[in-house]
Amino acid sequence: MHSSSTRVSGLSKVLHASGDKYASSLPEPLAPLLQELVSSKGYTHLIAGHTAVGRDVLPRAAALLDSSQVSDIVAVHSEDTFERPIYAGNAIAKVKTSDKIKVITVRGTAFDKAALEGGSAQAEAVDAKDAESPTTFLGEKINQSSRPDLATAPRVVSGGRALKSAENFEKYIEPLADALNAAVGASRAAVDAGYADNALQVGQTGKIIAPELYVAVGISGAIQHLAGMKDSKTIVAINKDEEAPIFQIADLGLVADLYNAVPELLEKVKK
């Protein structure tokens, strides 16, 4: 157990189950454990972040609890009424659940972080269930980066198809990100073309982020990309096509060739 979790402000209890089979957050052993804890202890709400693990495990637990999950909520109106984006964020639905046990995943960027100190939760060990998992974890390849994490970075610099190559992505996007102490992001086009890694994709099918500053370089602004970044506080777009849809939502748009504008911007940001 992380002893620090008992100090998170707002928590009253930290339940911990230890066992090798929980090591990789596989849903087959985790979902029955959650079901058992929620049922035996009488909880009314089961909540997790809408992360890769939350999206994998919670629906399985929801089905075991016979609960109709509410995914990726962005606002809470009452104990049973929530708001969530649908259609790639182009509409917001307010939904009320009649389920006794509410299973919910939460969009991280829509809520403030709880303070990591100031709480005094009680720790309680719970029995690990001994169900065998039909799935085993073989390994992972996590991208090593010294840059801020894309999901939580206050600033993000993203590159799109107009970068034309992985070399240009590295040459133009990364130094600007570093100068701004920003995370690097990418459009799907840039990822599919192999200019940037999958994990950097911002959009409906990648990360959904809301940094203070989002700089979109050579990104046209397809609906699916906008779904991942349109809640950013300030959006800057650099694109040579003045008709690009990204300009309709950018706070500051610069119609220019990125190969001239980005080095100039880098120069001036460094000063």
Binding site: A62, S68, A91, N198
Partner: protein, 275 residues
């Protein structure tokens, strides 16, 4: 007569959903309770990837894949996406038809798909026959990302979600292993799971094919089953638990301002305290 083979291989069930086309700019209905869906609809893009993966498996392991069945739950028009799946290479289609305005949540869909699975497994009572479901990782209308996981829970099968690579290591029989690479936050994870199982597809698993005209014509002759919730005994169990109180536009951005130079951009960002 040929001797009966020891096992017939893998039966693949593929879930497909008819959704508002991804390129359509959606409109909120005047009653504020939903989105206008009387626009261009097509197969959910993640489901196209699920069908494609099934068809590619058969192209690679011809004799081991005994059947690819496409399954859709929806109004009469959902038949369109089933025909597309048949034209892409599925062998037969199963349409669970519901009313035009029926609301089906992923939980209900998982129950229906589990009941369809049981029905199909019963028809083919070969003990050694292996089964698997391919589904998209999410539908682009409700963006819920729940159905595959819920179906796996209902069937008590393992799940491999957000798959970007699929590798059958052994034979296509019950209990055999499958290696799946999954897209997770920060990178990729690899798991080994066991047949039968539920797969949900991520974007990078493959590039779906277009159905050719001859294949579209051939698809019209393929078997097409129709079922109702009544046939499956799920009229009550499929009822919605969630009530949509309101659907509204997301907050509008005040975008559109352009700057004339990099200098102006830098000074505006400094003024706003962003750099």
């Amino acid at each position: 007569m040929l001797p009966t083979p020891a096992h017939q291989g893998l039966s693949l069930l593929v879930g497909v959903k008819r959704c508002v086309d991804y390129a359509v700019k959606i409109r909120i209905r005047p009653d504020g309770k939903g989105v206008d869906t009387d626009v261009k609809n097509s197969m959910n893009p993640f489901d196209e990837i699920a069908v494609e993966e099934a068809v590619r498996l058969r192209e690679k392991h011809k004799d081991e894949i005994s059947r690819i069945a496409a399954v859709s739950i929806g109004p009469a028009k959902a038949a369109d996406v089933l025909r597309q799946a048949l034209a892409m290479g599925a062998d037969d289609a199963i349409h669970v038809e519901v009313g035009k305005d029926a609301v089906l949540e992923p939980l209900a869909v998982s129950k229906i798909l589990a009941a369809v699975t049981a029905k199909e497994m019963e028809k083919n009572a070969d003990e050694k026959e292996a089964w698997a479901w391919h589904l998209g990782k999410q539908a682009i209308d409700d963006d819920a990302s729940q159905t595959g996981q819920m179906l796996a829970a209902k069937l008590n099968w393992p799940q491999a979600t957000f798959a970007s690579k699929l590798d059958f290591k052994g034979k296509f029989a019950k209990g055999e292993k499958v290696e799946v690479t999954r897209e997770v936050d920060g990178g990729l994870a690899t798991v080994e799971t066991t047949l039968p199982f539920v797969l949900t597809t991520d974007l990078r698993l493959n590039e779906p094919r277009y159905a050719s005209l001859p294949n579209i014509m051939k698809a019209k002759k393929k078997p097409f089953q129709k079922l109702t919730l009544k046939d499956l005994g799920l009229e009550e169990d499929a009822k919605p638990r969630l009530e949509t109180l309101e659907v509204k536009e997301p907050p509008k951005r005040q975008g559109g301002a352009k700057v004339g130079s990099v200098d102006e951009l830098v000074s505006k960002l400094q003024e706003a305290g962003r750099i």
